[in-house]
């Protein structure tokens, strides 16, 4: 939702990043304010997942230019864990499985780590159990998932619910959800989207990275950005996603090429 008195949470200016020496992001500008939902769309290879991971501080993505301010702080100067503690959350496209660590143990550890960093009270296992079960209801998750190893043997949909559960627990200022809709059947998509909608409020923001429009039928974005070849080439409202759904990505990319040609 766009509010009048919103504050800037995330301000990306001319961000460039390389992977294995190849430049993938070629100058990205994006401003995210409190209360907003942004969708970043684009064809495979356009750089949208790279953008998400670069913001979270993935070591394989080297920032080669530009700046990112997060609530006024220099985000790029922070280690990944410091970014998380500052309130940035990345929902993974492929959540990692950790056999041998119970999900409840992992969730409590991450929750308490952030609570301690924020100067708030940590929860003991019993208190946390009550707390996390409440949050699981939001995602219609079976409490059995607490006793299983982190993501091990979870279906695609269960892994994504577990990601949004972490978002619910960690209460980030900006949540970047990388292809959260991929691998979800229609029921799981509805549940996950509903969870995200309930977590979004006027003090935080959500950035959805997605290839398809279908999730945006449930989570209505305030802004839709289209990426192509490492840049945001078009920005519009929710209606842009529908147009992409019917016309595909080629016309946006083609328009970009024409524009570049005109400038040259």
């Amino acid at each position: 939702m766009i509010y009048e008195d919103s504050k800037i949470l995330l301000e990306v200016r001319g961000l460039r990043a390389t992977v294995d020496g190849i430049e993938i992001l070629k100058g990205i500008d994006l401003t995210v304010r409190t209360g907003e939902v942004h969708a970043i769309m684009g064809p495979n290879g356009s750089g949208k997942s790279t953008f998400a991971k670069a913001l979270a501080g993935h070591p394989a993505y080297r920032v080669s230019g530009g700046s990112v301010r997060f609530e006024g702080r220099d985000l790029l100067a922070l280690a990944p864990e410091e970014r998380a503690r500052a309130g940035l959350f990345l929902g993974f496209q492929y959540p990692i499985e950790i056999p041998g660590v119970a999900n409840s143990q992992f969730l409590r550890l991450t929750y308490n780590t952030l609570q301690a960093q924020r100067g708030k009270d940590e929860l003991d296992p019993l208190e946390f159990d009550d707390f996390v079960r409440e949050k699981m209801k939001l995602l219609e998750m079976n409490p059995d998932f607490l006793d299983r190893s982190v993501n091990e043997g979870f279906s695609g949909g269960e892994k994504k619910r577990n990601e949004i559960l972490q978002m619910a627990l960690l209460d980030p200022r900006v949540a970047i959800l990388d292809e959260t809709d991929s691998g979800l059947d229609i029921d799981a998509l509805r549940v996950v989207a509903n969870g995200v909608n309930q977590l979004a409020n006027k003090d935080n923001a959500v950035v959805l990275v997605t290839h398809y429009q279908r999730m945006l039928g449930y989570i209505v974005p305030d802004y839709v950005h289209v990426m192509s070849a490492g840049r945001i080439v078009k920005t519009g409202g929710a209606e842009l996603a529908l147009e992409l759904e019917t016309r595909g990505y080629d016309w946006v990319s083609a328009g970009q090429r024409e524009a570049s040609g005109a400038l040259a």
Partner: protein
Amino acid sequence: MSVATSGAYLENLLHGQPLPPASPLAWLNRLRAAAVDRVGALTVPTTRDEEWRFTDISPLAKLTFQPVTVAPRLRAADIARFCIDEAPIRLVFVDGVHAPELSGAAADGGLVVGNLAAARVHAAAIEPHLGRHVDFNDSVFAALNTAFLYDGALVIVPPHARVATPVHLLFIATQKDAVSYPRCLVLAERGSEVTVIEDFVTLQDAAYFTNAVTEVAVGDDARVTHLRLQRESGAAFHIANCAVALGAASAYRSIGVALGARISRLNVNVLQAAEGAECTVDGLALIDGSQLADTHTMIDHAKAHGVSRQLHKCIVAGSAHAVFNGKIRVRAGAQRTDSSQSNRNLLLTGRAQVDTKPQLEIFADDVKCAHGATVGQLDAEEVFYLKSRGMSDAAARSLLTYAFGAEIIDRIPVASLRTRLEKAVLERTADAA
């Protein structure tokens, strides 16, 4: 090492302390005499021996170990921290000598838990097994142990008896430069069920030498769970031979955890001597500093319709060195054998080392056998995942290392032991990360 040096070393071990007094049991005297002969004929293995290629035990042969003439009397308080709540039936050996005053809870219902040296009454049951499963013809350490065979743990589970609580066999090392010869014999008769915990601990940090032999005979339809914890001092030497013989449709499940010792070597030999036997032989070695932990296992499918499962993991920090040699043999006639073996190794530093050698020897044609080994470091994606949730680099690495070991520890069916080991692994991995 020259043969002469090796001979002098063995000579000292063999004659530096008095051999046990003659037994009224002629067969036992013959067994010891045969073992003494083998010690005279064998040499201390060197890295030129195929079975010892990766494990240099020359530091062991450079030290002189004293015989244990008198074991110190310990008080219950001294050993309280080693006791396991769920295992009231306990046999305690101090430097290899039986300590009846520390051993707890008399067995009942025909279950025998006692000292081998006092087990003449069970001689008929023992004779077919003692010294018959562990082959000391080619193992100088098994021969030495057998030459000194006197005190030892004896567990006999009568037919169809189910022992409700685990039997705890606790071996405590207390003396510097001492050599001890722990010995165990576990006989699970037809249709019986028992869990045995072999536990090697220490009250000191100095060098000493534990040379252990364990034999387990699992009768037809019997089920044995065998937990083995090696928590020796960081300066100790621990060499152990364990042989298991499985009857028809029996089940043997073992989990070995090695945390201690400067150099440790465990040989496990499981023989599926009858049809339809099942075994699981899991292990975890967690070592750092300059520790060396060597595990050699042999699962011998001698009869048809056998099942074996093995997961052996090593976590190697510092400049430590882990060795795994796992042989699966499927003999001709052992048709419909179903076997899988996996060895996974985690190296936490650039100086850590692992040598792994899974081996399959198959002489039957209708079998299902899978094996594999991996050696790796912590996965960068996994570390990033945890850091993206706010965990520090050190905490993320510690948790992932712990998780790697927890896969084995979680299989231990004794809750307090599991908790204790999880804590030990977390402490060790926190140090290593």
